[in-house]
Symmetry: C2
């Protein structure tokens, strides 16, 4: 924190002392959310929502560039429709919200608020897909879904949350598998290029896969407290749902075939990931690409002649190249520094009478608090360079931190020691049996995160039972 601002703001909890409280302090003090009366729901405030809009814009562009189209399905699912695929209803029924009445009228069949929309998409596809000419269908939907949660935390786990859900149908199993992996890669690129969050790509074990899926792929990232976060998932359903919903098409030879299906989703939990990967004890640190304000202009001694005029002039010039805000309120500069540091604005520009005299201004990076004095003639190019550099540096720092907290272990003793003393990702060999997965979870509270695409051989035997190893797995305590 800038020296002169430290004393002026109510401090947030130290992240090293109480990470959960630090997180809660940030979401409130950076004005990302407010709590709602309805238990487990949150209000996303303008600054939080603007971050989500920037995430949406980037994802939506990527979806459209890969041929996907947006649609909107109803938010209600009749009970009988939810029940059509057995594993699916078992996975979701315990946590759905049930509608019983419209006004005073009791419904003949209960409706639930969508916890996810596989069943609605399947029913629609069963009507509109007839021939191989109709395939593939590559649909996506932006909406909110409801899954009742007992313990909630803003962005990470709430009863209602915003997300996108892609649902596609294909002529062949191969095409569905390609799509599933394509979307996982798209998610990984978004995380690394836009959110500056490095991810591990891999497959979920059978125990951890999605209700009704043949295979679930995931991207996993590591938070600052050493806990893992599932950042996005992509599911290959094979023909499970196609058979339950009778989605068939006539192939080129006139033969009836079941379609193969995928779904994939990312949620507002991404904002939670950004907070926990990049934030520090001064507050939020936002990657420039999603920052609602990329540069804040703070006039110094703004009552002096010419300062506000010059600040206005600069703001006009700069706002055509970056998202700027000029703060002309009569708060002390130190207050303003602290406020925009809390909000994670990537760059601060200070300009006062002396700077104007010297045809210069001062730029301060949020991520490193480094200061540079720059000529007013070169401000534009330096700002663009700096924002680029901040974006790159943030990814590099996050990757370094992740790698430093990733441990290859050969024994359960090492496993337990690491997860207890220096939490992070644990890489360990696994025999492939659910018994070992359960046992490790019982003993360490760590869950299997994924079977990474990039396999390594740490040893030849399962870390738990000592039998022949099949895969290297990532483990971690998770949100």
């Amino acid at each position: 924190m800038s020296k002169n601002s430290k004393k002026m703001v109510e401090a947030i909890t130290d992240m090293e002392k109480d990470f959960a409280q630090w997180y809660t302090d940030i979401v409130k003090k950076a004005e990302l959310i407010d709590y709602a009366t309805v238990k487990g729901c949150m209000i996303i405030r303008p600054y939080g929502y603007a971050i989500w809009e920037n995430i949406q814009k980037d994802l939506d562009r990527r979806f459209k560039e890969t041929g996907h189209e947006n649609v909107y399905m109803p938010m209600f699912i009749p009970e009988s429709l939810l029940k059509k695929e057995k594993d699916h209803v078992e996975g979701f029924a315990p946590e759905v919200a049930w509608i019983t009445h419209f006004g005073e009228d009791k419904l003949s069949e209960r409706l639930c608020v969508r916890p996810t929309s596989e069943t609605l998409f399947c029913e629609h596809y069963s009507k509109i897909v007839q021939s191989y000419n109709d395939l593939p269908k590559l649909y996506n939907q932006w909406c909110s879904v409801v899954r009742c949660e007992k313990t909630t935390r803003p962005f990470l786990r709430t009863t209602e949350f915003l997300w996108q859900e892609g649902h596609t149908v294909h002529a062949t199993a191969e095409e569905a598998e390609e799509e599933t992996i394509r979307m996982l890669n798209l998610y990984a690129k978004h995380c690394e290029e836009v959110l500056a969050i490095p991810v591990i790509k891999g497959q979920k074990t059978d125990k951890e896969k999605f209700a009704g899926a043949k295979a679930t792929y995931t991207i996993e990232s590591l938070m600052h407290d050493g806990k893992a976060l599932q950042t996005g998932t992509s599911h290959n359903f094979g023909d499970n749902f196609a058979k339950a919903f009778n989605i068939q098409y006539t192939d080129k030879n006139g033969k009836l075939q079941y379609v193969s299906e995928t779904s994939w989703g990312m949620t507002t939990r991404l904002i939670g990931a950004v907070i926990m990967v990049h934030g520090d004890n001064n507050g939020l640190v936002l990657p420039p690409k999603i920052a609602p304000i990329q540069l804040v202009i703070v006039p110094i001694a703004q009552h002096k002649a010419g300062v506000l005029e010059e600040a206005d002039e600069l703001n006009k010039r700069l706002k055509s190249i970056v998202r700027t805000k000029l703060d002309k309120t009569d708060k002390m500069p130190g207050w303003k520094f602290a406020e925009y540091e809390m909000k994670g604005v990537p760059l601060r520009l200070e300009i006062g009478p002396k700077d104007i005299e010297n045809n210069q201004c001062i730029l301060v990076r949020r991520d490193t608090l480094e200061k540079v004095t720059v000529s007013l003639d070169k401000t534009e190019e330096i700002i663009i360079d700096l924002l680029d550099k901040i974006q790159r540096d943030m990814l590099q720092r996050a990757r370094k931190n992740r790698d430093e907290h990733t441990y290859a272990v050969k024994t359960m003793k090492e496993f337990e020691e690491k997860i207890e003393k220096t939490p992070g990702f644990i890489k360990a060999m696994w025999c492939g049996e659910k018994e070992c997965e359960d046992k490790i979870k019982d003993e360490t509270a760590a869950t299997s995160r994924c079977i990474p695409f990039e396999q390594e051989t740490i040893s030849n035997t399962c870390v738990c039972c000592g039998k022949k190893a099949k895969y290297m797995l990532y483990w971690g305590k998770a949100y």
Copy 2:
């Protein structure tokens, strides 16, 4: 319809014979929607949703330019919260969807799915507004809402629909009134400039105003069948909700004051308006500004050497200036003509071997079916001019049609004759009493649409009771 396509497509119902069936045919055949299993809900298909995205983009830009910020409130409202403002709960309680259980657990208090979010915004404002420095708050939300409807029609009246709802709080009654009118004007501009739909701006009578509002302003437009459609509304709540929810701020003199509040909304019903104002017996006619495809390229004799290459080349050139689609499927050109006419694509570009020889192509307007032959060297500028002209002409034609179906009447006999024989807007004088409003509705099935801002004096007496007239009103049978 183009001569050579007429025979190839299954005709839609003639709009002059059965307007309701014509409408239903279009929404299905232009692939805007599909019906969902849940009664009264609809699936918005990719082509329909892309129209909504273009409408959203324009409105959202206008909202942001006028200082509004987007937020997201929960979709659930506890019963006790809904009941806080008396008129409001009476207006909405009969049509809300009630949640009683989360999974197996019975809730201690029922929740409804938001029919609108005044109560949620008010509760939030009561927490975040303390001083005059916090005002105004200009928030907007994009979401779906639920109001159970017995009789539904796609886009016009459905149990769930998509919309935006603006909710603002202000220090003074004057500022709230200014905001209410500002947003009504913004809506009117969007309708005229983007949807090419002329509107009448005015105030709702007390009988027709929103549940809990002090004043409701409306824009009303006229459909091709002579029925009126309420296209957008803007409400001034005064301090009704502020008092019910205790939203107070400290003014500059340190005195506690209630805020003044507004709300305003537009919905997917706008798509219904576009269909019913511009559509014809060949299908949809879309204003270029919201058309997902502004220009479709149809190659003629595409099996011949060079045709597809030239079409590809043209498509590459044109897609940087307009939203294009090149249809290379092996359907007959006549089929393609009919399909894109049904979908309302504003311009069709035909290119075949002879055209290539003569360095030309053919452009066909959807709205007039006029054809022009243009040099390939000038295609870009002519397309831009034509799209502009189509946009303007569509508004002019709609205005002409509206004016030709707007009748000033002095007696109930004239009123009844007009509304029966040549439906449209009826302008008539009114004494201001609810009794006359009720009586006219009973006798003619027409409802008061608005007290227009632009008043005229048709006579000095109320068309119904003959007493002294207070206002000139617009009347109509309405959707």
